[in-house]
Symmetry: C2
Subunit: 128 residues, 2 copies
């Protein structure tokens, strides 16, 4: 899979998240996916995402910068959203915050197999 093909798969994955179309998540995410060194598996990964949308009803993923070198993608994601109560241990209570996530993905057979994510918590704290 070349750069453009892998980027296209990733764009479809992001569209799947934004549509909360969990029935097709398995097209993009491996059965034994790891997230920040925890083996979540596909059901655990789906639970994590569903929890994110439960905590943040207006959550949308927006790709600000994409760096593609198969089998890896690095993505800088931008969020402008309003967590209804707590998020990352911070009391947000419905305020709108803007923050980035810098995240790496390792693909295996066109599916996300490993994820290393860091959310810019300090940027959120600065807005509270």
């Amino acid at each position: 899979m070349n750069n453009a093909e892998l980027a296209s798969v990733y764009e479809d994955y992001i569209a799947c998240l934004n549509a909360q179309d969990w029935t097709i998540l398995g097209r993009f995410v491996a059965d034994d996916v790891e997230h920040n060194s925890s083996v979540l598996g596909l059901p655990g990964y789906r639970n994590m995402l569903e929890d994110n949308f439960a905590e943040i009803p207006d959550l949308q993923f927006s790709v600000e910068l994409l760096v593609v070198e198969p089998p890896h993608i690095a993505s800088r994601l931008r969020f402008n959203c309003s967590p209804s109560a707590n998020f990352l241990g911070l009391r947000i209570n419905g305020r709108t915050v803007s923050f980035a996530e810098n995240v790496f993905y390792e693909f295996r057979e066109a599916k996300i197999a490993r994820v290393w994510s860091v959310i810019d918590k300090a940027a959120i704290e600065d807005q509270l």
Copy 2:
């Protein structure tokens, strides 16, 4: 500049940081460099790095994962170090902590022109 050449420049940049060889920093960093949307310029960038080493005497940069797509590089850096007092607003007081930084670089004429960095502050908090 192809992937291997850009990766090689980046490896030399990391070696420069670990040697604290500030006299050659300008080989790798543009005069008008921006860091997290602040225009630091080369002197400001050097000051930031010198402050990092003042706060963390045993600071060393270790590349865990590199994704290269010219003109961009994404790097997952790993730190095992002992900030002597405060770091990111947290009281560390000489304890050894392990954390990652997920960071994107945009190169222009083989020099770092823009940087978007996120440090895993939540991981540090979990260790305190």
